[in-house]
Symmetry: C2
Amino acid sequence: MDLYNDEYFMNEALKQARLAFEENEIPVGAVVVCRNKIIARAYNQTEKLTDVTAHAEMLAITAASNALGSKYLPECKLYVTLEPCLMCAGAGFWSQLGELHYGASDPKRGFTQVSQPVLHPKTKVSKGLMAEESKKLLDEFFKKLRN
Amino acid sequence: MDLYNDEYFMNEALKQARLAFEENEIPVGAVVVCRNKIIARAYNQTEKLTDVTAHAEMLAITAASNALGSKYLPECKLYVTLEPCLMCAGAGFWSQLGELHYGASDPKRGFTQVSQPVLHPKTKVSKGLMAEESKKLLDEFFKKLRN
């Protein structure tokens, strides 16, 4: 049995999202996996860093490139709890990401709202993994915010 | 006579692009202006930082937010020598940028290749300022790279 499967990695991304939640950041988490090993973990830190570019995926891609010493990540898989926005999908394009796995869809700002291809043509995409848990965490966050 | 006009600021962005050129980076430069004052200057550093997210605009937006202590930049103008890609336009969206002025167009990776609106609806856009100088610098760079 392979313990280190897509669910395992997405669950690790969810743990990152929960860290964001605890710090009053919109709860999105990401991990980057290379050769079955997590080489980067990150969660949304736009509030703490006062920086709209500090989305979980951006921080994870930067950290993964640092870990590998390479701008390009064709052998890497990015697991993120929410569908990336155009900024993050654009970063995925430039990094030539091998695989993108996202959980919940973002019908408002997700990159699939754009009809043209945004990711690198070689990037494989899967969606929906643990989407319910991810969405529940986001819903809880916005409910807390409103109260 | 107002010395600090759009041309002045775009010229400052071009100076940043030339710094990138000297460091063997794709020569794109950017400045962020708030209340007629430059609060951030940056040039592309993807090679030096081994990081695809280190485009001039991304670094300039992050630096501007740092300078202002605000995630949002509705009173700021971003001057950049080349049309932003989707990643950078996406960052511009999140920052609610007041104005975007870009020089040369990027018919391959520029954000206007996407038919849907990518920037914030309130962001005013102008293009073409000093486009020739900007393009010439890019052409020189890629010619040098090929030789």
